[in-house]
Amino acid sequence: MGRYVFNRLLWMIFILIGVAILIFTILYLVPGDVSTHFLGESATIEDRAAFNHKYGLDQPYLAQLGNFLYSLFLKGDFGTSFKYNTPVIEELLVRIPRTLFLGVSCIVVNALIGIPLGMMAALHQNKWQDTLCMVLALLFVSVPNFWLALEMVDLFAIRLGWFPPFGIDKTTSWVMPIIAGSMAGVAANARQTRSSMLEVIRADFITTARAKGVDEGIVVRRHMLPNALIPVVTGLGVGPSKSIAGNVVIERIFTIPGVGTYMLSGIDNYDYPIVRSSVVILAVFSSLVMLLVDIVYAIIDPRIKAQYSGKAKGK
């Protein structure tokens, strides 16, 4: 098991290097000169040359890329902001916990609401509970989360004054961002849980369990649920990696000073070191969540566990 986690971590580092190269290249290909964007049309040629030289922008692509990767992965240096002339890492360290908190809260809400909704629907297939849950899920996936966020601000913050409309000063500040950020995930989880439950309900081993005379409640809890949750766990992993990106917009609407808003400010200001580093950090989050999911998956499913722990298959 330990070796499996180690291998996966190694693999993750490889992926992150790839992500860094990809992001660097995309931003390198932005048409026009960075110094023009940043210093404005009025800057003199000398100013621009000085700027380019300072940040190594006058070097060829490969040298710049090598430099970027070297400082990022070997020195842990995320570069320096063009605009503020401060190390990006300092700002990131302050912001990372906020983004993580929002992301993890959304995952928890997704699971706590989505899974029971899907279960209820599956256990009452084709009855009103099923219809209700599925209509709710359909609504949740269809409503854009940033619009919902704006409407919530309108109603609950400005008109009713229940929550602060923006910022993170109070504990209640987090309520609306978390609700808006988890809508789509709740719906996805509910749908996934329902369909995998319906598959498991018809499985032969459920008939075996019933034939043992086991109480229906135990059949659901002990036999159906664990099997149905395996694909849901996978979904839980894909969901947040989506919602971390979706949360970029949520962060901006509620002006949460997280990694997402930082990245957007970098985009607005052509401050590419900020953009690059923020994307790498967000990719780290989503890779870590995926890794976590794979580990959980390996723990709950003995078939996968055996595959990784190198235990020989039965004789």
Binding site: L150, D154, A245, I253
Partner: protein, 289 residues
């Protein structure tokens, strides 16, 4: 299952899917509303009393009334008119974005399925990297690099979708590869091209189509989000997301600026999803039960 002593008629599978689709209330409602919106967005401007960018400065921030059904914005532009024009953007972006992603995904997926071996190994590694950046985040970065504009937005939106299509297609191809009829095709000397296009593609394409349909809704939302961030369609074009962005400062004051564009997005996405769900059930009736 069979009609006794009656010639079995050739019924194209497409016709069967349509038949089943028509029995699905949700899908029918979804498609009808979508068609209505398409017709309105095409014909509507002919009957609109205002231009989409016509500023009536005396009518600034008018609440919905008889003159301006859904009110006006900060420049006195009629919201209703702008929404009608905006429908074109959302629908076009959603559909072309999803189709572009699907097309590229299918081409790459088939190449991968055809070459297999080493190419597959390397390509899958590359795809892992591609997919490690969450789709919407990648769209934001690509949109930043390309700059705003209609075509650029489509590229930015579809790029995140491609790895998912490839993975889906690849999984399908792998499962179909185990089927005996492929071995049978080899044994009757079918060429690789024939096997790919006659035996594999028709049997793997349905989930991809369903997935693409389901994606249209997500892409419409992403498109609006990009415009909201100022990276997609730029004002003064009446894109719904851009309208939301313009209205966000007046939240709590002139709430119709945000309410109606958002509602439009939600309704279109809902209809697309209803259609997608119906299509999934119609293409694979087993999945429903």
């Amino acid at each position: 299952m069979e009609h006794n002593n009656q010639t079995v008629k050739r019924k194209s599978q497409f016709a069967q899917v349509i038949e089943r689709l028509l029995t699905n209330k949700g899908a029918v409602v979804g498609v009808s509303i979508l068609l209505l919106i398409v017709i309105i967005s095409l014909v509507g401007p002919l009957f609109c009393p205002y231009g989409y960018n016509e500023m009536i400065l005396t009518d600034k921030f008018m609440a919905p009334c008889a003159k301006h059904l859904l009110g006006t914005d900060a420049y006195g532009r009629d919201i209703f008119t702008r929404l009608i024009y905006g429908a074109r953007y959302s629908l076009l972006l959603g559909i072309t974005g999803a189709l572009a992603g699907m097309a590229v995904g299918i081409v790459l997926g088939l190449i991968d399925g055809y070459l297999g071996g080493m190419f597959d190994t390397v390509f899958m590694r590359f795809l892992d990297i591609w997919a490690a950046i969450p789709g919407q985040l990648l769209s934001i970065i690509i949109a930043t690099a390309l700059g705003p504009g209609f075509v650029n937005t489509i590229i930015a939106l579809s790029i995140g979708e491609v790895p998912l299509v490839i993975r889906l297609l690849r999984g399908q191809i792998l499962s179909v590869r185990k089927e005996d009829y492929l071995e049978a095709a080899h044994s009757i000397n079918a060429s690789p091209g024939r096997i790919m296009f006659k035996h594999i593609l028709p049997n793997v394409i349905s989930p991809v189509i369903v997935n693409t349909t389901m994606n249209i809704g997500a892409i419409i939302t992403s498109a609006a989000a990009l415009s909201y961030l100022g990276l997609g369609i730029k004002p003064p074009n009446p894109e719904w997301g851009a309208m939301l962005a313009a209205g966000k400062s007046y939240v709590g004051v002139y709430n119709w600026l945000v309410l109606y564009p958002g509602l439009c997005i939600a309704i279109v996405v809902l209809c697309v999803n209803l259609f997608g769900d119906g299509l999934r059930d119609a293409i694979d009736p087993k999945m429903k039960k």
